[in-house]
Amino acid sequence: MGDRTAYQTLVKQHLKSISHYAYRLLGNQKDTEDITQEVFLRLWTNAQKWESKKSKLTTWLHRIAHNLCIDYLRKHGRMQTQDSFDDEADDSTSKEKESIDVKNDEVKLLREAISALPENQRSALSLCHYQGFSNKEAAAIMNISVKALESAIARAKRSLREKLTTSS
């Protein structure tokens, strides 16, 4: 019983950040929900694998999410862009979905540019810019060196700047 209560608390605590990270990598709601569910299932079944001295729980969970997303993308091809998500969800459009619609051309352009980035750059950008991880933590999540992570972030930002500059 105690385990289940602890599990429920952890789900409530980490659900938002894990689902947001998965969404930023996958780009569509259905896959995000499936992957997020799988992350928490692994938390339940493999809790003993988490080493509290080595990493924070959130880092460990993001690492699981990262690996699942990368596996998924490799199996199913590149991420679906927001446009394809919108097309897919046309039948069940709700007010909440409308609220995330593209606010203006620049936002749409940048969203497309981010979805066109290679997986590692998108992941690095998402972890450091949106999820608030340090470079060291993000590198640990992605299982790469800090130098490789910094290089991925630099390339991603350069690419986004170029996209925005050429469009305007």
Binding site: L15, Y23, Q29, L41, N46, L164
Partner: protein, 149 residues
């Protein structure tokens, strides 16, 4: 500082100067004041950061319930967890009592068995067995103080 170095700092730490390394902040500010390309670059990055902040993620209203209500499989437990799970079961009061009691008795049984097979340097004098009747007399706790021999 060169434009390339400044670009690298912008790429790594973003447009907000508070996030730049302290040791390079002053140098960056002075380079920025004198280089028009650097200012253009900074403005572009401001724009990118601002737009990135506007990219929202949808909410997942049913996801929490879906995760909390899913049937959870048996957990993969470590050896220690298995032992502790057996020793102190979550339910069944009877087991909660006799299992720890059995565990507590294990060292005692182990000690008896070990003592039975090994002397551990404690020798048993053969002479002692020759006067076993004396030993018995002493054990009988008879008061001999007033007995005249």
């Amino acid at each position: 500082m060169t434009l390339e170095e400044f670009t690298r700092i912008i790429d790594l730490y973003g447009a907000e100067s508070a996030r730049w390394p302290k040791s390079l902040r002053a140098e960056c500010q002075s380079f920025l004041a004198n280089d028009i390309e650097a200012r253009t670059l900074l403005n572009q990055q401001w724009q990118v950061d601002e737009i990135m902040g506007q990219i929202e993620v949808p909410s997942f209203p049913d996801l929490e319930n879906r995760i909390l209500n899913q049937s959870l499989p048996e957990r993969n437990r470590s050896f220690f967890e298995e032992v502790m799970g057996w020793l102190i079961p979550e339910e069944n009061f009877g087991k909660q009592v006799w299992r720890p009691a059995i565990a507590a008795c294990i060292p005692l049984v182990f000690g008896i068995v070990l003592g039975n097979y090994f002397s551990f340097g404690v020798g048993i004098e053969d002479d002692g067995f020759q006067y076993w009747d004396d030993e018995l007399a002493m054990l009988s706790l008879t008061d001999y103080t007033e007995t005249s021999f």
